[in-house]
Symmetry: C2
Amino acid sequence: MSPAAPLADDLLPMREACVQAAREAIAEQGLEKLSLRDVARRLGVSHQAPYKHFPSRDHLLAEVLQRCYEAFADALEARQRFDDPAADMESLGRAYIRYAVGNPLEYRLMFGNDWPEAAEYAEMYRAGLRAFDVLRAALRRLYGKGVPKAKVDADAMFVWSSIHGLVSILQVSCCDHLDLATKVEAGLADHQLGMITHALRAASGASGAG
Amino acid sequence: MSPAAPLADDLLPMREACVQAAREAIAEQGLEKLSLRDVARRLGVSHQAPYKHFPSRDHLLAEVLQRCYEAFADALEARQRFDDPAADMESLGRAYIRYAVGNPLEYRLMFGNDWPEAAEYAEMYRAGLRAFDVLRAALRRLYGKGVPKAKVDADAMFVWSSIHGLVSILQVSCCDHLDLATKVEAGLADHQLGMITHALRAASGASGAG
């Protein structure tokens, strides 16, 4: 093998190398500047090489997003489990916040932009849906059998958006200027999860879950 | 006056023209590309002209943000008022959602990025704080006199972040792929506000506000 051959080709299949280079490009320059040409340049391969694996920039982006959703869903599945369904819901919320705070770039990528839209991105949609279904499953356990799908869906959207909102606010700096009482900021995650628990309990007719 | 004089100088003071041009530049190209040089180009004035009013790009951005927060706080203050404090809280939530959905660019600008940080931007911080204080005042009315500031602050953060999360999710397209039950999406705002009301009521010891 020639010593001049591109390193990435030696170490990883080209498809994997493209995904990795795309993540680096997004981290450094933002999503808007992602292009197959830039990915090729980063890998030291011809402009055409990435096109053998990804027909367009959006196909590559969909693959990056799919990996993000899979890792995210795995992290949610790997939460500490509790027999008590309400404690398990809170644990899920904690796992969500921990993942988002620990992976801000991936988090913004998953939830801060429109998804690329095309039937070919079915695998990406499936991975995103899997993450959401972790939450739906936890809610079904909380409410018990026979709960209508519309209730699970509506409450899943409430839980998700409430946690997403807190995570998004924590990722920008504006809290620093809101004159919050001491210790409020440190307790935000606990308080948010506690309020979500209150709301779910009230919405389930105070059936005493948890 | 010479007919070759720049139009913007004729119609508006330069400071106002810069703010307007900055908003247009952000709308067209995103926040990252905002520069005083580009603003000058848009106004057809010399590169130096904007510097007479704004020492830096961040000073101009802080002024744009300040206007956004003022308009936002005005919209919250202009909500439909109710004697019942719980109904007033929901009305505030509705006014928030309406403003965010109707002004997506301004909304993203206010809450999707770090604030420029410097003591000189005190007016911007004050405008942002005024919007947050509308929410704190509504909560104090809900809870009654003597409620600790820490409780108001923590619950204000809960209400704000829960509504912010929903608004942020509605501004991207991922809901379309979550296999939500029919009508859930149309009812998201009402459901979110209802769940927030549940949580506030439970957190205030079911004191029956509203």
